[in-house]
């Protein structure tokens, strides 16, 4: 942890007359949530280690508007989108990578018709592409032989049909990937999407994250892997409530930890 992270901002790069290859869109959760910040750092360590030419928006980044849009506030969403697009276009951003499937979905699918067209990748897709290009090597490290189950984030899986990239990365850890009874297109939501993260659930018989955590624990996995900061929170809470100690880790954390970064 003593290692200093190299995180240039777009503004700094521009001042030096440079244009980074990719913009790392950190997202609100990755910027502010204590648990998610660890994911952000893990991902940056991988980027630094692989000498990826990237930058962040830093204080110029703002919410994509996803939770507002899903809550029904199209005004607020479009205000956010147009302000973000103005910033992104001013920096002539071409390619965006983000560790949040909600930001990923919004930037990729809902910004283009508002004049914001970029190549947008989820960090698991990006890491997979680095791996394929030989820019990243993944070794099992501490995860060798461990049983890992992967929870499909709705906004990565069903919403955008990305199912294989995170699984390919887990398999590269020499770990045993075990599937939950509901996975891929049948994956069961963690309960956070559609702005649910920011409100109490409606009256029911059970919380959705508990139902999903039970799916995960049923696999007897030693680690629950996630690819979304919100899913991570929901499942971490679920594991706690179930009085279990199975760690919930993001794919980026798994890779960074395996490499001892």
């Amino acid at each position: 942890m003593s290692e200093v992270l190299h995180v240039p901002t777009m503004a700094e790069m521009m001042a030096q007359g440079k244009q980074p290859e990719i913009l790392f869109w950190v997202g609100c959760s990755g910027s502010f949530d204590d648990r998610a910040k660890k994911i952000t750092k893990a991902f940056v360590k991988i980027l630094n280690n692989a000498n990826i030419d990237f930058a962040v928006l830093g204080t110029e980044e703002s919410c994509t508007g996803d939770p507002a849009k899903r809550a029904g506030n199209e005004f607020l969403f479009q205000m956010q989108a147009m302000m973000n697009i103005e910033v992104l276009n001013a920096y002539e951003v071409k390619k965006i990578v983000t560790a949040c499937p909600h930001c990923f979905n919004t930037l990729k699918n809902e910004y283009p018709s508002l004049n914001g067209t970029y190549e947008v990748m989820h960090h698991t897709e990006f890491l997979k592409s680095l791996l394929d290009a030989g820019k990243l090597t993944i070794s099992g490290g501490e995860f060798k032989g461990k049983k890992i189950t992967f929870h499909d984030p709705c906004y990565l899986g069903r919403a955008n049909n990305v199912y294989e990239a995170p699984r390919d990365l887990i398999k590269k850890l020499d770990a045993e990937l075990v599937e939950m009874k509901r996975s891929r297109a049948n994956g069961f939501c963690c309960g956070a999407g559609g702005a649910q993260m920011f409100k109490e659930p409606e009256k029911g018989t059970k919380d959705i994250n508990i139902e999903r955590t039970e799916d995960a624990l049923e696999t007897q996995a030693e680690i629950i892997a996630a690819g979304c900061p919100f899913c991570n929170t929901m499942l971490t809470d679920g594991v706690k409530i179930k009085e279990n100690t199975t760690p919930v880790l993001d794919i980026a954390e798994l890779i960074a930890n395996a490499q001892d970064l």
Partner: protein
Amino acid sequence: MNLLAQLFFAVLLIIGFGFFTINVKKLIRNIKLGKPVDRADNASARWNNMFMVALGQSKMVKRPLAAFLHIIVYVGFIIINIELLEIIIDGLFGTHRIFAGLGLLYNILIGSFEILALLVLIAVVLFWMRRNVLKINRLSNPDLEGDPKKDANTILYFEMVLMTLFLVMNAADFWLQQAGVSHYIQAGSFPVSHFISPVFNGMDENAVHMIERACWWLHIIGILGFMNYLYYSKHLHILLAFPNTYYADLNVKGKLDNLESVTNEVKLMLDPNADPYAAPPADAVPSKFGASDVHDLNWVQLLNAYTCTECGRCTSSCPANATGKKLSPRKIMMSTRDRLEEVGKNIDANNGVFVPDNKSLLNDYITPEELWACTSCNACVEECPVNISPLSIIIDMRRYLVMEQSAAPQSLNAMMTNIENNAAPWQYNQMDRLNWKSE
């Protein structure tokens, strides 16, 4: 067959198809109450969807047993209807088994109709048992209490009776052929009904003839009746699955539409040169944001509602429903159709004009509690075998609640205020966004 019977048959056909046409027109009128949405693009992808999803039933196979039984009924329905052509010609012209001249091909056709009819009968009985004896959760949950349950069983009884009539008719025909009764030419093969025909042994020729005729008439009357029952039942999917899959949203499921009316206003708000006091252009229709009633939904959403066959796969995969929340995506579709029907009847009763009835889809049919329970996870959209999107209706109704009524739950209002004030859903300062770097 005498002339009177032929005339009666013709009148029957005219009434049957005439009434059906009236209802189809009503159906189209009701669907057109929806707002316009452009789904004319990318015809090849749309045909492909229709071919794979509706005709090929590619999404049914997720639940193999139901898919297997359903494909039998589906293929049976299509193939056996070839027989309908012969029935109509025979009925109008007083002929009997007009296609018998096809010889071997005719035998093969009639033989395969019979086998399919038996399989359909078995499948339908199993369907009935899944619904009424095994009480499969999605087929017996509270969404279906009352009329929907009766409707589902009525359809099954209809099919049972039609298949039975068809087989008994053939059995009697076969018996009469064997007895050498004139008019009953030796034609067709009867792999199933020849097992039934011995029950007529010892009966009077005329009695068997009466039975054959009765089954023939009841069969065609039943088919016409079933066709006309469609509009009043959940069974419209046998027709509407095709346009529904054709016009379904082709975008990835995660993509929601961006409301154009909002875009215009937001652009104006962000434009430093805009005059905030300028009068709106004269042709600007005051638009309503989101949907509180069926008129506010688009026509594809209304087509979705008529297409829904209430199979409940959406609801059985819904995380909110699975954890005891009020939301049921199937009920969203059923409520939308119920309200649309009510609006349609209102228009019929008032000379083609809708007279406000102090009711709306929101509150009277769908409560905010249901809408706010949705996680927008798209499980319902993924599940639907005919590409219906309950989620799009939920989002449009949330839009109305938030943008027209400011009626979001308090915690969501706080979230939105945060985004407005400090560009994040939580109360953190935008200037602290990069603090993680050095923490």
